[in-house]
Amino acid sequence: MNKFPLLWIAMLATMLACKPEIRTEAELYQWINDPENGFVQTRKVNDLSITVKYLPAAFLAYKEGRNMPRATQKERDSLLNYYSHSRTFLMTIKPEVASGASGDVIYQGIGNYQEYQQRVMQLNFHLGEYLSLHAGKQLFVPSLSTMENTYGVTELRNFYLVFSDTDAHTSLLTENELDFTFQDEIFNTGISHFVFQKKKIEALPKMTELTTPTAL
């Protein structure tokens, strides 16, 4: 009879020991890119696929820290603290079916140079006007919106979007659901919602010393 509590403790210890841990950079990317883990969501409309990926603070701090090999632990912690006050997303728009001669998403549905010019302007300088993040009753607009220039190398386009607030106790960080909304007036895909659960996106396993750099 007395052995049962010991058995329970042993089982609990085994379960705790099995808690996932990220040891390599490849594992980190694998975790973030697995839709089951709730960091990435995709919608397909009008021959386009729109993917929104949540980039956790630990990931951003790690990526930046990689370029600072001599940084102390205190400096790394400060970097993590810096990224912890905002929410960063990577939105990727790619064609499902090749369009026109080049297949580049930027030319999707474009008929003339004027339309092309307008699209480039919208994507480079006005994308933030079509994006918002709903956290509870509060609505946030991107404080930073950047389109990655691909110089025609890929058919897709990546956009980095940062939502931040000066208030540390804002709903941006405390709400259980983050609703990333894209009100698309550029590619005719309508309004798309990408809902992220706080419980899931904060369940990123502990990262130990990471090795093997790979591309996101």
């Binding site: 839709p35 709730g38 969501q41 919608r43 397909k44 409309v45 009008n46 609703d179 009100q183 698309d184 007036e185 590619f187 005719n188 895909t189 309508g190 309004i191 798309s192 919602h193 990408f194 809902v195 659960q197």
Partner: protein, 180 residues
Amino acid sequence: MMYKILLLINFILLSVCLGFCVWLKQTSPKIAYVRSAVVVDGFQGVKEVRAAFHQKESQWQSEIDTLSARLNQSVQQYSQESSRLSETEKEQRKLMLTNQQAELQKHQSAVQQKATEQEDKLLQGALNQINQYVKEYAEQQGYAMVLGTTQSGNILYANEAVDITDEVLKGLNQGYHSHE
């Protein structure tokens, strides 16, 4: 012996008939229809587009109202002061008011055009979402064709058994606020 042979022949014929029926059911194309207006009106994406548009529209309308109120104020001011003005001043003020009115009309039509363009774009996007979902649903359920009924359409009659409007609308709205 004869009885057994007859029984066997009956069994074979029955199996062939059954096989033929199964083959016929599997190879004949599955067709269904949706009531387009019901899907469009009931789709959350369309409702949200309309709400977003109305919000923008009321913002633009309040801008126009402000400009219009300013013009009315200028007209009133002019009618109060006109008796004290010289002919040249009257002409100048009239010209100013005409220009102001023309500007307002120009702004009004520009706003209307912009509003129509934006609504069309957003609504087209929502319709594209519906088309995408119907395509995925048809592929999943093995439909060879999904027809859409409209008031001016060509479908005069279809059995309710092939009406998939409710299933499509339910799936469409469930997937709209994606959680996964």
